[in-house]
């Protein structure tokens, strides 16, 4: 679980984001929720804002980006997507 007080992340922020991580596709559930728990607190404020931007995207698009069927046109969001995949995949190894 996330330590709510670490790196300026508030409990309210995490609670709100956790429900945004509930999606229509199992793959997204298994990427976004674990990342919120394991990776989000290590992001700087700019990247946290990018994560929030990502959560506002459509499920099918997210799935395509995460599963490498296509590349996000914004290089910063593309980097964040690959970072999320790397963090989650590392937990499986």
């Amino acid at each position: 679980m996330v330590d709510p007080n670490q790196n300026g992340t508030t409990d309210a922020e995490i609670r709100r984001l956790r429900w945004q991580c509930r999606r229509g596709m199992l793959e997204l559930d298994h990427l976004l929720m674990p990342f919120l728990d394991q990776g989000y607190r290590h992001l700087d404020p700019r990247r946290r804002a990018e994560f929030v931007t990502l959560l506002a995207q459509q499920d099918q698009d997210l799935s395509d980006w995460f599963m490498s069927r296509c590349v996000h046109e914004d290089p910063r969001l593309h980097d964040l997507i690959r970072h999320i995949v790397a963090v989650v995949a590392a937990q499986q190894s």
Partner: protein, 587 residues
């Protein structure tokens, strides 16, 4: 008890394809309609449906609805109601055209007509050559349909309660269902929504099993609310499993992997399918492969630390073949199993995929129960559509391309029926305070502090027990033991506690509320499966390996009160054509 109250003509709980299609019919007819969804509507599980929608448009090959009907009756292993199936196959055609006109970007042929792809189980001329019946929007059909319907609902001014969780149905003093108590997830505060008609469209319940392809939102909420309202669930023993999901996670690994030459091995490296299916081996039917995998695990030949999965090997295919033909599988395995199939086997286990049973309805989406006199009667003002409902078009097994069809046809027709219902039932019904208190008790019980079982632990234990005892391996011994254990877990639930009693975005509280739904619906599956002593469609029992049309061609009805089972006959008479009598299924 003072709770904010809203009034609508119609209330729809669930915002997937069924709920949104119904809402669109209603809003377009100027009916005051509200949709409650626990996630933002376009995050509903319909978005994950990639395959397509069956409709006999005959754009690619000759086709007609009667052939579609034959395939669906046969696919149901003759447990589907033939009047409902005829109705669905006829209505498929206008339903698809209506979606086309609403803006769904279906893939096209060069002549401009909707493209149709062939799928398993489709035939021309009652079992003849392969048919091509599935309309798709590339590989994102569910996404395209969901977004189109959502946008059209916004245009039609449907009222959305986004991120609201439905707690329970409520009744008036005469006992008629008149609304639902819902919880605003952001604030943790309840709201009472009263309506003349209520449609449950909450989707499937795959999360009752540990390993499932369903998203986390699929917790059987509508089915559980129905059970608590005293309405039985129908044919819940029929649950479709896919033999190969990523172990412990559930993501589907398509059969195409074994078609390309991938094979299964146990912890000793043995190709065990040679023992179970000497001819077909790894390409045996889904239920045979799934049961073989579980047998290996049960007999101690499973791999991994807990010996609870087997391996799917692809290394011998080589990196080029895997990258070229199975790129999605490689990525999935790398991310979710931590195994690159180029050099490592994929850990797999059967994954729960689709619920054939559900809330019993007629072909207009009206919830029906056994009547005191006569066959059955509608529950006034209560409707259900989509995967949570059972209009009995899938029977014991569902054909590919018929799930999106089911939600769209019956969502549409339920919407049309509700329009008539609300126009002829004007009087507003007020909620009985006793009923409201009962619904509120579901919520306030989680305010209790003190000693108890952590709700999340109980959730994990229950899902594992369902997988072990009501999954693909169903013998009397395994299921009877499972029923006992599940009953004990249900008792434990009374002492379940939350560590956090706060209100704002308390997702642990929502998950605890979902746990109650999982337990209610899981027991419906387990008890129904225990009672059906035959093998039919997706319900496969090694101790009763044959289909038994003499004793078991009937629908199960599970009541929560006392875990009671009742039965009702299959409707074998179609609306306008001759019946298809039961035959042995061969493909």
């Amino acid at each position: 008890m003072s709770i904010p109250t809203r009034h609508f003509d119609a209330l729809i709980i669930g915002a997937g394809g069924a709920g949104l299609n119904a809402a669109l019919q209603l809003a377009s007819a100027d009916v005051h309609v509200a949709v409650v969804s626990k996630v933002f509507p376009t995050r509903s599980h319909t978005v994950a449906a990639q395959g397509g929608v069956n409709a006999a448009l005959a754009n690619v090959l000759p086709d007609n609805w009667h052939w579609h009907m034959f395939d669906t009756v046969k696919g149901s292993d003759y447990l589907g109601d033939q009047d409902a199936i005829e109705f669905m196959c006829r209505e498929a055609i206008p339903t698809v055209y209506e979606l086309e006109h609403a803006g769904v970007p279906f893939s096209r042929l060069d002549n401009g007509k909707i493209y149709q792809r062939p799928f398993g189980g489709q035939s021309q001329d009652f079992g003849g050559d392969q048919a091509a019946r599935t309309c798709a929007a590339a590989d994102r059909t569910g996404h395209a349909i969901l977004h189109t319907l959502y946008q059209q609902n916004i245009r039609a001014r449907t009222h959305f309660f986004d991120e609201f969780f439905a707690l329970d149905l409520v009744r008036d003093k005469e006992g008629a269902i008149c609304g639902a108590l819902v919880l605003e997830i952001e604030t943790g505060e309840p709201i009472l929504i009263e309506a003349t008609a209520i449609l449950l469209a909450t989707g499937g319940c795959g999360q009752i099993f540990r390993t499932t392809s369903n998203a986390h939102i699929n917790t059987g909420d509508g089915c559980a609310m129905t059970l608590r309202a005293g309405v039985p669930l129908m044919d819940m023993e029929f649950y479709q499993f896919h033999p190969t999901g990523i172990a412990g996670k559930g993501m589907l690994i398509t059969e195409g992997v074994r078609g390309e030459g991938g094979f299964l091995v146990n912890k000793d490296g043995e190709r065990f399918m040679e023992r179970y299916a000497p001819r077909a081996k790894d390409l045996a039917s889904r239920d045979v492969v799934a049961r073989s995998i579980v047998t290996e695990v049960k007999e101690g030949r499973g791999a991994g630390e807990n010996g609870d999965y087997i391996y799917l090997k692809l290394e011998h295919l080589g990196a080029n073949v895997i990258e070229k033909r199975l790129p999605g599988i490689r990525e999935s395995s790398r991310i979710f199993a931590g195994a690159d199939p180029v050099s490592q086997p994929i850990p797999v286990f059967p994954t729960a995929h689709y619920q054939m049973g559900g809330i019993p309805t007629d072909r207009f989406g009206r919830v029906v129960i056994p009547a005191k006199y006569g066959a059955e009667e509608a529950v006034a003002g209560l409707y259900a559509a989509g995967e949570c409902a059972c209009a009995s078009v899938h029977g014991a097994n569902r054909l590919g391309g018929n799930s999106l069809l089911d939600i769209l046809v019956f969502g549409r027709l339920a919407g049309k029926d509700i329009i008539e219902y609300v126009r002829t039932n004007h009087s507003r019904r007020e909620t009985d305070p006793v009923s409201l208190e009962q619904a509120m008790a579901r919520l306030t019980r989680w305010d209790h502090t003190g000693e108890g079982v952590p709700a999340h632990q109980l959730r994990a234990a229950f899902r594992k027990c369902m997988e072990d005892h009501a999954g693909v391996f169903r013998t009397e011994e395994v299921m009877a033991e499972g029923y006992k254990k599940l009953g004990e877990l249900r008792e434990c639930f009374k002492d379940a506690r939350l560590g956090d009693q706060s209100k704002v975005f308390n997702t642990a509280r929502i998950e605890a509320l979902e746990l109650e739904n999982l337990i209610d619906v899981g027991l419906a599956v387990a008890v129904s499966a225990l009672h059906r002593k035959e093998s039919r469609g997706a319900h496969s029992r090694p101790d009763y390996p044959k289909r038994d049309d003499v004793n078991w061609m009937k629908h199960s009805l599970y009541y929560r009160d006392g875990d009671r089972i009742d039965y009702k006959p299959v409707r074998t008479k179609p609306l306008t054509v001759e019946s298809f009598p039961p035959k042995e299924r061969t493909y």
